[in-house]
Symmetry: C2
C-alpha cells in the first residue's frame, strides 16, 4: 500500500521498515486471511524480511496483536452521531460498534478472543459515556449503563462473528437444533430454530430494551 517500504535514504537501512508499517501489514493480513494466518514467518515473508526483524520492531506475537487492535481502534472513524434524544444517540453508537465489527470481522473476533474488546471500542464507549452524561446518568450509574449496553452488543457480536468465520466447527445453532425433539416444545418452535434469526431486527429490539432500562426518557438533553 504505502511506498515507504522501498525507501532507502542512504542510511544503514537495508529495507527501510518501521514499526507502523509492520503493524499495518499485520492488520491487512489478518483482515484478508484471518488471525490464524498471521504467523511471524508469514508476516515476515509478506514484508520481504526475516522473522527476527519483526521482533526487533514490535516485539513478540502478543505485542504485535495488541498493536494491531490499537491501530484499528484509531482507524475506526468516529462517525457522526445522530438522534433527537440521548436514547436515540446511544442506540446510534451501539449500531456503529455493531457495524464496525462486521466490517472488520477478523480483527474484531481476534480482539474478542484476546479479551481486548474495550481496547478496540474505547472511542465509541467514550462517545456513549458523553451521551449518558447529557442524560443526567453519571458516576457508577453511567458505568453500569455502559457495561450493560456494551455487554449486550458483545453478545450479538459473538453470534454474528462466528457463522461464516470458522467454518470448521459444525456446532452452529441451526444445525444443532435440527436434531432435537422434545414433547414439551411445539413443532413450530423447533422448526423455527432451524432457521437463523433476523439478527438486525433482534439487535434493535434487544439493545433498545437495555438502553431504555438505563437511560431515562428525557425529551431534550441538558
Amino acid at each position: 500500500m504505502s511506498t515507504t517500504a522501498t525507501r532507502n535514504e542512504g542510511t544503514g537501512r537495508r529495507v527501510g521498515l518501521d514499526r507502523d508499517e509492520v503493524i499495518q501489514r499485520a492488520l491487512d493480513l489478518i483482515e484478508r486471511d484471518g488471525s490464524e494466518a498471521l504467523t511471524m514467518r508469514a508476516l515476515a515473508t509478506e514484508l520481504g524480511v526475516t522473522t527476527t526483524t519483526i521482533y526487533w520492531h514490535v516485539g513478540g506475537r502478543e505485542e504485535l496483536l495488541t498493536a494491531v487492535i490499537e491501530l484499528l481502534s484509531r482507524q475506526q472513524a468516529e462517525a457522526e452521531i445522530v438522534g433527537d434524544d440521548p436514547r436515540e444517540r446511544v442506540f446510534c453508537i451501539a449500531r456503529q460498534i455493531w457495524t464496525n465489527a462486521q466490517a472488520h470481522r477478523n480483527v474484531t473476533s481476534l480482539a474478542h478472543r484476546m479479551g481486548a474488546t474495550t481496547l478496540l471500542e474505547m472511542p465509541m464507549e467514550l462517545a456513549m459515556l458523553r451521551e449518558f452524561e447529557s442524560a443526567g446518568v453519571r458516576g457508577a450509574k453511567a458505568r453500569d449503563a455502559l457495561q450493560a449496553v456494551i455487554l449486550c452488543v458483545a453478545g450479538f457480536l459473538v453470534v454474528a462473528l462466528r457463522s461464516p468465520a470458522s467454518g470448521s466447527l459444525d456446532a452452529h445453532s441451526t444445525e444443532l437444533w435440527s436434531t432435537v425433539e422434545d414433547d414439551r416444545v411445539s413443532a413450530a418452535t423447533l422448526k423455527a430454530l432451524t432457521r437463523p434469526s433476523d439478527l438486525e431486527a433482534l439487535f434493535n429490539t434487544t439493545v433498545t430494551a437495555v438502553i431504555n432500562q438505563f437511560v431515562p426518557d428525557s425529551g431534550t438533553a441538558a
Copy 2:
C-alpha cells in the same frame, strides 16, 4: 479417578484405555490448567500413554475439544427450575447458565472461543424454550426470545470469564479507563469506571429487562 485405567482383562490391551476416559481426563486437565495447557503430548503423559493413542481413540485436537464440551454439557446437572411465573423461571435458567459457566470457567471460555456455546448450553436452552411455550411464546417468536436472552447472558460471560483467566493481557477495562481524560465526561463517571461493576446486580437488571421484553406478563402458566 476411575480405576478402569489399570484394568487389563487379559485381552490384547496394554493400558485398558477407552474413549470416555480420554475425554474425561482432557476435561479435568483443562479445568485445572486452562485450555492452552491441553496439548496432545501433555494429555498423553497424563494418561501414561503415547500421543498417537489419543488419535486412535478420539481423533485430532478439534474432535477432542468438541467431545470435551459435549461431556460437560451432559454433566451440567439440570438443576430444579424455581419461580412462580414464566418470567421468573426463564430468569432462573439464565442464572443457571451464568452459574455453571463460572463453575467451569476454562471449558466455558474454550467453548466460547470455538463458537460452540450452543453445544455446551443446549440442555438449558431447551429448558428455556419449554418456559416460553408455557407462556404462549412459540415459533419464530420463541426462537428470537431464546436468542436474545442467550445473547445477553453470553455478553456477561465474555466479561466475567476474561478477568482472572488470562492474566497476560492488561487490556482490562478498569486499567484502560484510568488513563482517559475527557472534558465532556464528569470526573465522577471517569472515577467510577476505574472500579469494576457489580456484575451480579447488573446481570439481574439487564437480563430481566430483556426477558420482560419478550415474555408477556401472564400471572399463571397455561
